[in-house]
Amino acid sequence: MQDFGDAFALAFGLVVNADADLLEIVALSLKVSLSAVAIACLIGLPLGAAVGMGRFRGRTAVIILLNALMGLPPVVVGLLIYLLLSNAGPLGWLRLLYTPTAMIVAQAVLITPIVAALSREIIEQLHAEYDEQFRSLSVARHAAVAALLWDARYSLLTVALAGFGRAVAEVGAVIIVGGNIDHLTRVMTTAIALETSKGDLALALALGIVLIVIALSVNAGVMAMRLTAARFAYA
């Protein structure tokens, strides 16, 4: 067990010297989480827009479901994806278990409800504002969706960043479906868990520092975007 101060010194050394193992883990983490965010946005934004603009039977139930799914336990999602992708599972033939793709799928499943639920709320508010004007202009449905998504772009980007924050900090699901395999599926959170259990606090702390820097950067990005949007009255 290392001394706390030594661990910090070693961690900063790894970060400053751009340690190869550290960079590999960080790169894989970013690749997995950014891919998951992209998939979640592709599904979640149109879904949020459809629910936000639509008036259909069972809409309230869909909204309740989306809101409830925002709190999905990662380990449960990991377990379900594991069962689907394991050799005995219905999608076992894809041979995706213990690959970065499986981790992307797990994170996408976790954050798609977040993107859909938050974008639903944003689109619904904007739609209420534009609705009468759009009906007066006879704006077609697809044009209205496109216009709402574009006009809400700053708020929706904030949603995407919130999804990214959740994805990159997630550990339960990716450790189940990824297996935390060195040089293959090891990401920051799973590596921190492993190195801490091994007593190698330097690498765990170094990864923790990177994770915190990413979290701070994401929040700074969100704040900068909000300020920019407010300055131009686009928010």
Binding site: R135, S136, L137, D151, Y234
Partner: protein, 261 residues
């Protein structure tokens, strides 16, 4: 009162305009047995109304009279509970609505630049007229603000942009729901000038206002509503000098209307 009794203008709705492409021919509007109710409460009571094609119609009435509802029913934003709306004898449908436009009391502007708000409307109709954005912004005095965010404009400028967006497609009918309600006198005058110019080009105007001075300045004919009923429809001079209904007399004299017409 019917169209024949209203002020006649040469051309009966076909106007000589700035250029051939800006020519607008307004249709005649009609409502028959128009009624609207919400939750069992009837807000518009069986209105029969003829709107001449070539007049500047002002809709007056106390709060809650149904002026905005009538506008929305005539434009097709609301479906009547009973009765129907037609323009030139044809029942109001989507194709007819595409030839109409509406300006609301509170401008609803897209979160984009001034020019992009105009381009959005042109894009909806697949209109590719180079210079049209520039022309319409010049017409409403917003040429210099073309690249500014629309929502940073002043209230009067926002309403002028809203008007420009309505006028850019040369609508046959333009509905305005208290467009100057929260504007200062200069902005009000600017809006009135733009609307009058559109009317001179042939656009049928249906204008809701609470401002009696404005109604006197603009109206050819006045539709007066009271408690969801058509109390009076007459030439402006006749309405203001010799209102036929007690409700209109009370309204013009600033008295609270306490009874049905």
């Amino acid at each position: 009162m019917h169209e024949a009794a209203l002020k006649q203008r040469p051309g009966q709705g076909t106007y000589a305009v700035e250029s051939a492409e800006r020519q607008v021919r307004a249709p005649r509007g009609a409502a028959r047995g128009l009624a609207y109710e919400v939750g069992g409460s009837r807000l518009i009571h069986g209105i029969d109304l003829d709107l001449p094609s070539d007049t500047f119609t002002v809709v007056l009435g106390p709060n809650g009279a149904g002026k905005s509802l009538l506008l929305r029913l005539m434009h097709g934003l609301l479906q009547p509970t009973a009765g129907q709306v037609s323009w030139d004898g044809r029942r109001l449908d989507k194709a007819l609505r595409l030839r109409q436009a509406m300006v609301f009391q509170r401008p609803v502007l897209l979160r984009r630049s001034v020019a992009a708000n105009i381009r959005f409307v042109l894009g909806l109709r697949h209109v590719r007229r180079p210079g049209r954005v520039h022309d319409v912004l010049r017409e409403v005095g917003l040429e210099a603000q073309a690249n500014q965010p629309a929502r940073l404009l002043s209230g009067g400028e926002q309403q002028r942009l809203s008007l420009a967006r309505a006028l850019v497609l040369d609508p046959e009918v333009l509905f305005l729901d208290e467009p100057t309600a929260s504007l200062d006198p200069a902005s009000t005058a600017a809006i009135e000038t733009i609307v009058k110019r559109a009317h001179e080009r042939g656009t049928k105007i249906v204008f809701v206002t609470h401002d009696l001075g404005q109604a006197r300045r603009l109206a050819d004919d006045v539709v007066f509503l009271n408690r969801g009923q058509l109390a009076e429809h007459s030439r402006a001079a006749q309405f203001f000098d010799h209102p036929a209904s007690q409700a209109a007399r009370d309204y013009l004299e600033g008295r609270l209307i306490l009874r049905h017409t």
